[in-house]
């Protein structure tokens, strides 16, 4: 897996993005820039539109405004997105293994024809980067939340995307698993120059690892370094209210 850019000057620019579903305005006037090699954390109360913003970037929801990607040379081109979903369909007893999952995305030969040695080697090497190579033949439904997350991350960055999107990586993972995940993301942005955008509720980890924090409530109400946003009035307003509403 090689770096796709050697300098950190490529960027993704989101301008005036808005999402209206039916008659409901979910998001409006969203403007921000994601620099390559940086991790941006999206925070906000439940229902603030975080997942909607990710889905709009993924092209699932129609949106107004523009999303553009510029290479280090300043050329504009189509953005390749890697995605780690919040949940995947791993029903109890489902026989899909980690190999089957990767092969389904990487090969045209029906996975039920059996394993191909060269493909198994490639997949194992990719899994090894995230410390989960021993799970090549494990069924997805037998993995822990943390292991599954790392498998999905290994898949999302194979091939290397320009933008990696993670939706609430905390769900189903213990704190230890989350710490490992953030360390791996930090390594990824450093080594591969990938732009990372994630939704997270773990503010201490966000403070430690994020380069940029965006506080969302239908639009951006605070944006900047973790210190700037986590000490802002908008942040206090949102999370004091949030904490109170949780109690009552």
């Amino acid at each position: 897996m090689n770096k796709h850019h050697t300098s950190g000057t490529c960027r993704t620019t989101i301008s005036n993005l808005g999402v209206t579903l039916g008659k409901n305005v979910i998001l409006y006037e969203i403007d921000f820039t994601l620099n390559c090699g940086e991790l941006t954390a999206l925070i906000g109360r439940n229902g603030a539109g975080k997942t909607t913003l990710l889905k709009a970037l993924l092209g699932e929801y129609p949106h107004t405004g523009t999303v553009t990607f510029h290479t280090p040379e300043g050329k504009q081109r189509k953005l390749r997105i890697g995605y780690v979903p919040q949940q995947i369909n791993t029903e109890h007893n489902s026989p899909v293994t980690v190999y089957d999952l990767f092969a389904a995305f990487l090969s045209a030969r029906p996975v039920f024809f059996g394993k191909k040695k060269y493909l198994a080697r490639t997949i194992a090497a990719q899994l090894a980067l995230f410390g989960v190579e021993e799970h090549l033949d494990s069924r997805l439904c037998d993995l822990s939340g943390g292991e599954l997350q790392r498998v999905m991350l290994a898949l999302a960055v194979f091939p290397v995307p320009e933008l990696l999107i993670l939706d609430e990586p905390a769900s189903g993972i213990d704190r230890n698993g989350l710490v490992i995940l953030f360390q791996q993301l930090a390594q990824l942005k450093k080594d591969r120059d990938i732009t990372i955008l994630l939704v997270s509720h773990d503010l201490p980890l966000v403070r430690e690892h994020a380069d940029q924090v965006i506080l969302l409530d239908k639009t951006i109400i605070a944006k900047g370094t973790p210190d700037e946003v986590l000490n802002s009035q908008a942040f206090r307003d949102t999370f004091t209210y949030f904490a109170q509403s949780e109690v009552h």
């Binding site: 993924l58 997105i81 979903p85 899909v96 293994t97 089957d100 389904a104 995305f105 090969s107 039920f112």
Partner: protein
């Protein structure tokens, strides 16, 4: 066909092979059970069991529409109706305005009721009751040929799209980010189920057709450690229950379709009992 018959008589030295209707039924089972079990594994993975059941029920209206329009070959009318029905149902399911199982149930009940009203209005409903349980022993050589044609069209299509369908099963959004045309593939898959289910209605019956899709996959899931084993087991269970059901029904004179389903169900319960021991 005569050549095929003589091959069967040479290969299978049993008394039942003497009868042409048994040979036809044997060939039909040889085509139907693998087709259903292979597609069925994906139906089970996608949790579409209820959906495919509704498709089977829609056949009743398809048959009635065919009768009213005077289409002598009701299979064509049934297949066309099932495709439209499946497409409509899937479109409404996608909007998620109503819970998936509720909307499927509404469609399924409507199709059954409409079919019954239309068929009973002709005055002799009993004529059509054979569609409810089916009779594979009445299949004619040209109908076996039709099953072969469906098999030859559906299986390569399914194999070509299989990995992408599996990717969609894991997560739709993820599949989309990998440039998989999810809507298109979903429609093709649903049409495949509709065609497979409706062309077989006459032989396995509306009430039991879904069992042929679901049971081999469900039993195979109890044992499989990966997708290869899943398909191999499903295929084995489907063929084994198909042939043993056919032969049991010959010797004990009960309906063939239910016999096949019962053997399939026995495989499910047996594998359920031993699954933890075998998988380790």
């Amino acid at each position: 066909m005569e050549y095929l018959y003589s091959v069967l008589e040479t290969l299978l030295p049993f008394s039942w092979v003497k009868f042409d209707f048994m040979k036809n039924a044997f060939l039909a089972v040889l085509l139907l059970t693998p087709l259903f079990s292979i597609i069925g594994t994906m139906v089970v993975e996608n949790k579409l069991a209820f959906f495919s059941d509704a498709l089977g029920h829609s056949a009743l209206t398809g048959i009635a529409v065919g009768m009213l329009l005077g289409i002598a070959e009701t299979t064509l009318a049934t297949v066309l109706f099932a495709i439209v029905f499946a497409w409509l149902l899937n479109m409404i399911r996608r909007t998620r305005a109503v819970a998936g199982d509720t909307v499927i149930s509404v469609f399924s009940s409507t199709a059954v009721a409409l079919g019954l009203v239309l068929l009973s209005s002709q005055g002799n409903f009993t004529k059509y009751s054979t569609y409810l349980i089916g009779d594979i022993l009445t299949i004619r050589p040209q109908e076996v040929g039709m099953l072969l044609a469906v098999f030859i069209i559906v299986i390569p299509l399914y194999l070509a799209g299989y990995n992408r369908l599996l990717a969609m099963t894991v997560n739709m959004s993820l599949a989309r980010t990998r440039q998989i045309p999810v809507r298109f593939l979903e429609s093709i898959f649903i049409i495949m189920i509709a065609v497979a289910v409706t062309v077989s209605i006459k032989w396995v019956g509306i009430l039991l057709v879904n069992s042929l899709l679901i049971l081999p996959g469900a039993a195979a899931r109890n044992l499989a450690r990966n997708m290869k084993e899943y398909h191999l087991w499903a295929l084995c269970f489907a063929l084994a229950s198909g042939f043993s059901g056919l032969i049991l029904s010959y010797y004990y004179s009960f309906a063939t379709g239910p016999a096949i389903v019962l053997v399939n169900a026995a495989f499910f319960f047996l594998t359920h009992l031993v699954k933890n021991k075998i998988r380790r």
